[in-house]
């Protein structure tokens, strides 16, 4: 094809008819030859949204699973995640040191629904246990787990780094430090009221410190520089926190149990963080598409007309708010923010439009179950929930990491 006078008559230059383009179908590269059967048939219904993702998964192995997530598959993913969460919550409500009859619990819960009246047959102390301890505890665990997992996914999108996490970035350590300061030096009711605000300030401060340190260390380092900076910030902030704790040894037990995580805060705690949780969740879910655009890099995102820096800033604030809300009521619970989004990505695809909401559901289910285990394994004693998540999460994370390495290679 030799360009003659391109500004002149198109027909003189290229004889390809009105549509302009007639290209030979190129031979398929070696990479695609193996799985070449799973394309949409040409001329089929809208490309990409078709339901052939299962074929792609089967032909392409693990790497193909994250590919074209059809609408039906998306719906199924939400259905499965919601069902798992619901089942986890049922287990969480029923299990515990004091046994509750399943039938009675079901009837008591039904009775609370508007327009439904049922006689549960529970004693008043059983009712109290159910509604003052179990139900708020399960709800708080679900909320905290959802927030942490979604915040993890958000940080991963902002930094284009699958290892980004509220803990690795210094957000949780920042929140932990400020909350410790508030608990130790303010104490009392004023301290409790200041906890969410302090946690937010600490979380944002921690991330920005990590970000500034990572940027100062050089642009060439890329995403690993940021994580290393985050680890340094985390160590530093944790050191200060330890120092403060040792200053106030009489408060040590209180802080210690908070650090290891606890979702037994009840309705007041739920009410306290609900607004923060709602704002951060809505903001993050709204930015799923823009995080998808950012996944091709800042420069190209800018070329596509997106204010990359602004999007990152907004999502960063929202993820930090979510982290802070979670940390403020539950202390430090590790691994939810990094394990859950990874699993979701493996099962449901790469897009943040689905990773963010599914991480919320998955994280919620995960933490409800973790809390149930924490309450029951050593019953009547309770294990800190952070111990359970780390015990399950750390080996799991290593496995996920190995799998992702193998696929990427």
């Amino acid at each position: 094809m030799i360009p003659g006078d391109p500004a002149g008559d198109p027909a003189a230059g290229v004889a390809t008819g009105e549509d302009g383009v007639v290209v030979e179908r190129p031979r398929q590269g070696p990479a695609s030859a193996g799985g070449a059967v799973h394309g949409d048939p040409a001329g089929g219904p809208g490309p990409g949204v078709g339901g052939n993702a299962d074929g792609a998964g089967a032909a392409g192995g693990a790497g193909g699973i994250g590919g074209g997530v059809g609408r039906a598959r998306r719906g199924r993913a939400y259905g499965v995640a919601s069902a798992v969460l619901l089942a986890a919550m049922v287990v969480g409500v029923l299990a515990g040191a004091a046994g509750l009859p399943a039938r009675g619990v079901a009837l008591a819960l039904l009775d609370r629904l508007p327009l439904v009246s049922a006689h549960s047959g529970l004693t008043s102390s059983q009712e109290g246990l159910l509604f003052q301890l179990r139900v708020p505890r399960v709800l708080l665990a679900a909320l905290v787990g959802g927030l942490l997992a979604m915040a993890g996914a958000g940080y991963q999108g902002v930094f284009r780094n699958p290892l980004a996490d509220p803990y690795l970035l210094g957000a949780a350590a920042g929140a932990g430090l400020t909350v410790t300061l508030v608990v130790v030096f303010l104490g009392g009711d004023a301290g409790v009221a200041a906890v969410p605000v302090a946690a937010f300030a600490g979380a944002v401060g921690g991330v920005f410190l990590a970000y500034a340190l990572g940027s100062a260390a050089g642009r060439g380092g890329g995403t690993s520089t940021l994580v290393l900076a985050g680890v340094a910030v985390t160590s530093f902030l944790t050191a200060i926190q330890t120092f403060v704790q040792q200053l106030k040894v009489d408060e040590l037990q209180r802080i210690y149990s908070w650090i290891l995580g606890d979702v037994g805060g009840g309705w007041e705690q739920l009410a306290m963080v609900a607004p923060y949780a709602a704002v951060s969740t809505v903001v993050m879910l709204l930015h799923g598409r823009l995080l998808d655009v950012l996944s091709v890099g800042d420069e190209e995102a800018t070329g596509l007309g997106v204010h990359a820096t602004r999007v990152r800033f907004v999502v960063l604030l929202a993820a930090s708010l979510a982290t802070a809300a979670a940390v403020a009521v539950s202390g430090l619970i590790a691994f939810v923010g990094i394990v859950v989004p990874h699993v979701v990505r493996r099962l449901a695809g790469w897009s943040y439009r689905i990773v963010l909401p599914l991480s919320f559901l998955g994280g919620a289910a995960f933490l409800v179950l973790a809390d149930t285990v924490a309450r029951t394994v050593l019953a009547p004693a309770e294990l800190p929930i952070g111990v359970v998540t780390a015990f399950v999460g750390a080996p799991f994370f290593v496995t996920v990491l190995r799998m992702s390495r193998r696929v990427d290679a």
Partner: protein, 274 residues
């Protein structure tokens, strides 16, 4: 420094015009006072030795990095535009684009519709329709649901092109579109760009390190060396033995190809074999 299709003055000139573009990275001037002009339907190639500032020039024209000077697309000063509006006028494909391995071809091409989607909005039926027809045009519809990680080099390049075309911008900036492709795939990609240029009257600006390829496809060449435009004009005017010897430090022979365009080939040290 105007190509054969460039208009000289008028603010409403179609195509792309850049005047006095300069870029400084840190303390170091990378680009100084570069101007270029390519009319509607024209193909301009930026050539030059390694480190001459070719990619930087393209990114400056695309408005991706801070730069001095002015860039006009169809007479509109694009550097003053919001990124969204600019992205409707200029589509840019970098030399090695990030291709998330799990993203499908369709999903990636759909990203090209980003400038038409409101900040918190979602893709419209029209966006999906445009993307579908672009994939069909590039013969990629059979690949639509394939993950990017499963594509060959030539397929990848076409997918990147599809994303750029989905932007429906009149100006296409392609940074080394043939990098890492074998001979046949180089030709396929260049032919494809050429056909699209003619069919849609697109203005194409590419950086190219292969001089013969540049001479084959472009109407206008701009030769960059040390951050300055040292020559510009038709392939015959720019691809000359003295200019290439001076700026590339290369011993070359330039002769006419059968189609009359210049053919650049290297000459071995010690002269021709006996």
């Amino acid at each position: 420094m105007s190509g054969p299709h460039a208009e000289d003055g008028g603010a409403d000139a179609a195509g792309v015009r850049a005047r006095g573009v300069g870029v400084t990275l840190g303390e170091r001037p990378v680009l100084a006072d570069v101007s270029l002009s390519a009319g509607r339907g024209a193909w301009l190639a930026v050539i030059g030795p390694n480190g001459a500032g070719k990619s930087t020039l393209l990114r400056a024209v695309a408005g991706l990095i801070p730069a001095e000077g002015a860039v006009f697309v169809n007479g509109v000063p694009v550097r003053a535009l919001r990124p969204r509006d600019r992205a409707r006028l200029v589509a840019y494909a970098p030399q090695s684009p990030a291709l998330p391995p799990d993203m499908t071809v369709y999903e990636y091409a759909l990203l090209g519709r980003t400038p038409y989607i409101a900040y918190l909005g979602r893709e419209s039926a029209r966006d999906r329709e445009v993307t579908g027809s672009v994939l069909e045009r590039l013969d990629l519809d059979a690949f639509a649901s394939r993950p990017l990680g499963h594509l060959s080099g030539g397929e990848r390049q076409r997918v990147v092109l599809a994303r750029a075309l989905a932007q429906q911008a009149p100006v296409l900036l392609l940074d080394e579109p043939t990098t890492a492709l074998d001979l046949g795939h180089q030709q396929q990609v260049m032919d494809l760009v050429d056909q699209l240029r003619v069919a849609d009257r697109l203005t194409v600006v590419t950086t190219l390190h292969d001089l013969t390829l540049a001479g084959q496809y472009a109407d206008t060449l701009v030769l960059l060396a040390g951050g300055r435009a040292v020559a510009a004009g038709t392939p015959d005017q720019v691809l000359t033995e003295p200019l290439l010897a001076r700026h590339f430090g290369a011993r070359v022979r330039v002769g006419p190809a059968p189609d009359g365009r210049p053919l650049v080939h290297l000459v071995r040290l010690g002269g021709a074999r006996a």
